[in-house]
């Protein structure tokens, strides 16, 4: 485990990834149970969401069962995508720990992480619009600027994937250098 010297960035990353993984597993299980409860429980707790009426006044709109199930399902999908991303990152990290990070399979893994991040960014973009379909006039916090950071991170990861592809080629060259 030469990459995991005490106090190294790698060792901190490993701890962070492990903690995040298990927290995410717990959260996903809770969300899945919540979806199940929202589907089967005869009575649900009263919930409401702020919305604007026709006159522009602020009102509280009751969150019905379909809306609650929809919101929780979107959250479950979000958690599932995050789980896939973190699982892939942990597999990449294992190759780093083994001292051989530029393996060809890591190229595909990084591209998968990029696609996962793109899916999360798309979900973040779509969720408020979907909610507005079911709760017309739903009040959302307005962003002054469109959120570009998630999309930028997608580009960064795809660039890294290309770097790893070149790294894998150099690794192969080094293997075949006698």
């Amino acid at each position: 485990m030469r990459a995991l010297g005490p106090g190294s960035v790698s060792s901190l990353l490993k701890v962070g990834l492990d903690v995040f993984w298990w927290a995410l597993v717990g959260l996903t299980v809770l969300v899945a149970l919540a979806v199940l409860a929202a589907l089967v429980l005869p009575r649900l707790p009263e919930m409401s969401a702020p919305a604007r009426d026709a006159a522009g006044g602020l009102v509280q709109v009751p969150v019905t069962r379909p809306i609650l199930v929809g919101r929780l399902t979107l959250l479950a999908v979000y958690c599932a995508i995050l789980l896939l991303i973190v699982r892939t990152l942990r597999r990449i990290f294992l190759t780093l720990v083994a001292g051989d990070p530029f393996r060809p399979e890591n190229v595909g893994r990084l591209r998968g992480v990029g696609l996962g991040l793109a899916a999360l960014a798309a979900l973040n973009l779509l969720t408020p619009r979907l909610e507005s379909l079911f709760i017309p006039g739903l009040v959302r916090s307005a962003d002054a600027w469109p959120e570009l950071t998630p999309w930028f991170s997608v580009v960064v990861v795809f660039v890294l994937a290309e770097v790893f592809r070149e790294g894998a080629r150099l690794r192969r060259e080094a293997e075949l250098t006698i």
Partner: protein, 75 residues
């Protein structure tokens, strides 16, 4: 690959096995096999030096250039 390895010919002339050469040169048998079969992408000068020393030959006895289309990199 335009560079052809004639290691087996030199080994035959010196009546030496690949295993014995691997032991003398300090390169694994697997790597020497890769070299012998022409699958190697590069050879270090230190390896070439050791091979020529043990086989008592010149680099040109082991490496031969045959003009042909250059090899494309695998993606």
């Amino acid at each position: 690959m335009p560079i052809r390895i004639q290691l087996d010919r030199v080994l035959l002339q010196r009546r030496m096995s690949l295993t014995e050469l691997a032991d003398r040169v300090g390169v694994t048998l697997a790597n020497l096999s890769i070299l012998k079969t022409g699958k190697a992408r590069a050879i270090r000068f230190s390896t070439l030096d050791a091979l020529c020393r043990e086989l008592d030959c010149q680099p040109g006895d082991i490496l031969v250039f045959e003009p042909g289309p250059p090899e494309t990199d695998e993606d």
